[in-house]
Amino acid sequence: MEMFLKLDFWFTVFRCATPVLFATMAAMIADRSGILNLGMEGAMAIASLSGVLASGFSGNLLVGGFVGLFCGTLFTMILAYFIMNMKANQVIAGIAMNLAASGGSIFALYSITGDKNTSNSIQSKAFPSVEIPVLKDIPVLGDILSGHNVLTYLAFILAIVLFIVLKKTKFGFKVRAVGESPEAAESVGIKVHRVRYQTMFLSGLLASFGGIYMSMGYINRWTAGMIAGRGYIALATNAMAAGNSLLGMFASLLYGFGSSIAIYLQNMNMDPYMVTMIPYLAIIVFYVLFSLYYRHKNKQHESL
């Protein structure tokens, strides 16, 4: 129990929450426009690998970041095309794309570098950590909140931006109208397809940020399977947040909390495989609690 008293533990909570927060926002923006984007896992895998490769070969961090974002977003746009133009089932198309991405990324790594599981032969760049002026000098808070990766700060800022965009801007209104009642949106001349392509683009971009954070921030190389279901768990955190990205921040921190516990227990010689279950179990438990709460609040009576 003494781990909860360590400042490091709480620092790790934020560190672990970052990729899931990106993915949660990705799920949320698509969801609000009426699309279930299951392709986040794949987009993260692709973005994380292409980011590492591009930064390694170019020796430039920003080139790596850009290529990572581009590839992950492109992947999501292909999925969007399948769903909207080819009328593919969103669940099937999403899962198929993810499976292709998980195999394809290993294949790509092997054919380009000769490495099979980990990008050891490539010297990848990483996004830097930053100390926040003023904040870093505050005891306790400074230790927990300052010194994170740039992308961590970006994630939390974007969560606030997303909240405002959905609630206050014209684009946000369109997204909500399209998601809730596409016929109504169409009848006033809103182009449902276009709005959904826009949200899928943003969704892909956000997921890709989560991806490059994993391989160029969280750690400094690419490993097969490193996304480890973070793209899927975001569906649960999004459901918990019920379309509100501030709550999404909170839900992602819950995941981070579970992850942080797992990391600490691992250091205490617990079985590592068992320990890795913890964040996911935590999310399931929290999700059930949230659902019960929402049900209580909304009295949603489901017909049989």
Binding site: K168, T169, K170, G172, F173, K174, R176, A177, E180, S181, E183, A184, A185, E186, S187, V188, G189, I190, N298, K299, Q300, H301, S303, L304
Partner: protein, 513 residues
């Protein structure tokens, strides 16, 4: 009346499957005219309007607006040309406010953000100008159907519509709301707006409209001045024969209470109290009509009665059992049949065959000793049902969704009426079916009544309620507010007062219900 604004020449619509929905339709409307389009269901009214509004592609023929030929690629085009449409199914986003819905897609903005104040101000201004009162700040899910309709009309005008298409606008309104709507439409007409009014309620057409065009089987029969034709003549043109909703009811004896609904409460997911201590009872052998504006708890009461929803508190006593504690299957077993409100959603499995749909509720009867289905018996039963209930189908194997609405409904009625149930719950038994099917279903309902079955019937069609019911109760905000024992003597107006909550019977009288 002004000069001609819209003309349609030889307009034809053939769907990809080969169905001819409209064939060489001709008609024209003038500025400042209310022009009715009448016809039975399936006569092609909606298709025609959808083509005028750019939702459906035109197969052949021409549309002229102010003398110029036009082509609409989509509804945005039509809106840009000053055509607006209020569809039967409201095109509103429930979780946005009235003002947000009004300006959706063309919001005022200040910098990056939507200018809430300006949008509300616009809403209030336009609402004031045309005397269509709406609450700008309320969420659409919280406002009445009547207000939603006003909002829809305002929406079209806010976007600059000069021609407004109304698709059966009165179907969901109380008589008083209808009157109010008509008054407002007449005002708009004075301001030079053209209104295309789709309806099959001929009295309304007679009262409101200047001219009418009759559609039958996808063709236009002709355009008449409303003052030149009688309701009977219009009806004849539409169906080719007179339809009256008056039937001879057998004298039957009404027995004791057979089913008692006791203090039901239900709060929906938005926190609205849908059922508020609702109590009423059904006597054996009677047809109990339930009137009320949509959304006053009728749907919930019927769903709870048939087990499709669970209530928060209260009970339903039937044959010594509390139905609220039973599953749908058990409720059916105790002797309750159910014709649901939406035939495509709950009433049938659209992708399955006519046979599967008709036999679904009675499969238990057709199993042999190995618990396998006896196909021969099923076929016999289905063939008999199809014949008795005049379901027009190319065969038992055809998918039920290939049938017309009236025939799907007849198939569902066939399934439910052959269950040998003591109580039949009818929720909108003839909504959206053609007049012929309506008449047929009505006769079947009276046949069941003669066989001493008890029925609860929810309907938005007051004429239907008056023609069939032995007793009518009126729902308002999840409560019974009126009991009408003498159905023949009551008027639309009286029912309307109850439906709007303006009149309420004494407690003692309501206790009897």
């Amino acid at each position: 009346m002004g000069k001609e604004i819209l003309r349609v020449e030889n307009l034809t619509k053939i769907y990809p499957g080969g169905t001819v929905a409209n064939y060489k339709i001709n008609f024209s409307a003038d500025e400042g005219e209310i022009h009715a389009l009448v016809g039975e269901n399936g006569a092609g009214k909606s298709t025609l309007m959808k083509m005028l509004f750019g939702i459906e592609e035109v197969t052949d023929g021409k549309i002229f607006l102010r003398g110029e030929e036009i082509h609409f690629a989509n509804s945005t085009d039509a809106i840009a040309h000053g055509i607006g449409m209020v569809q039967q199914h409201m095109m509103l986003v429930p979780s946005l406010t009235v003002a947000e819905n009004l300006v959706l897609g063309i919001e005022h903005t200040t910098g990056l953000f939507v200018d809430k104040k300006q949008n509300v101000k616009d809403t209030e201004e336009i609402s004031e100008k045309y005397n269509l009162k709406v609450d700008a700040d309320k969420l659409v899910r919280d406002i009445s159907i009547g207000m939603k309709q006003k909002l829809e009309i305002l929406k079209t005008m806010y976007r600059g519509a000069k021609i407004i298409i109304l698709d059966e606008p009165t179907a969901v309104l109380a008589p008083q709301e209808t009157e109010e709507l008509f008054e407002q439409l007449l005002n708009l007409k004075k301001d030079g707006y053209t209104i295309l009014f789709i309806s099959h309620k001929l009295n309304e057409v007679k009262y409101l409209c200047d001219r009418l065009t009759v559609l039958k089987d996808g063709k236009s029969i002709g355009t008449y001045n409303v003052s030149d034709v009688t309701v009977e003549e219009i009806s004849n043109l539409m169906v080719g024969r007179d339809i009256t909703l008056s039937y001879d009811k057998d004298e039957t004896e009404i027995g004791d209470k057979i089913l008692t609904v006791d203090h039901l409460n239900f709060v929906d997911k938005f926190g609205t109290k849908k059922l508020d201590d609702l109590s009423f009872s059904l006597r054996s052998g009677e047809v109990l009509g339930i009137a009320g504006i949509e959304g006053n708890g009728q749907k919930e009461a019927m769903e709870i009665l048939t087990g499709n929803m669970k209530c928060d508190s209260g009970s339903i006593q039937f044959k010594g059992k509390d139905l609220t504690k039973l599953t749908i299957g058990k409720i059916r077993d105790t002797g309750i049949a159910h014709v649901p409100e939406d035939r495509n959603l709950d009433g049938s499995a659209p992708q399955m065959s006519v046979r599967d749909n008709i036999s679904a509720a009675s499969l238990k009867k057709f199993t042999n000793k190995f618990k396998l289905l006896d196909q021969k018996k099923i076929d016999e039963y289905c063939e008999e049902s199809v014949e008795k209930f005049k379901v027009k189908t190319s065969g038992l194997n055809s998918m039920i969704k290939s049938l017309s609405g009236g025939n799907v409904q007849k198939a569902i009625v066939a399934r439910e009426f052959t269950q040998d149930a003591d109580v039949i719950v009818l929720n909108q038994p003839t909504r959206g079916v053609d007049v012929g099917a309506m008449e047929f279903i009505h006769k079947k309902i009276l046949e069941m009544r003669s066989q001493k079955k008890s029925m609860v019937m929810v309907s938005a069609d007051l004429a239907e309620l008056q023609a069939l019911s032995d007793r009518i109760i009126v729902f308002y905000k999840g409560k019974v507010v009126g009991v009408i024992d003498d159905v023949k003597q009551t008027t639309d107006k009286e029912l309307g007062l109850y439906m709007l909550g303006l009149k309420q019977d004494s407690k003692e009288k309501l206790m009897e219900a």
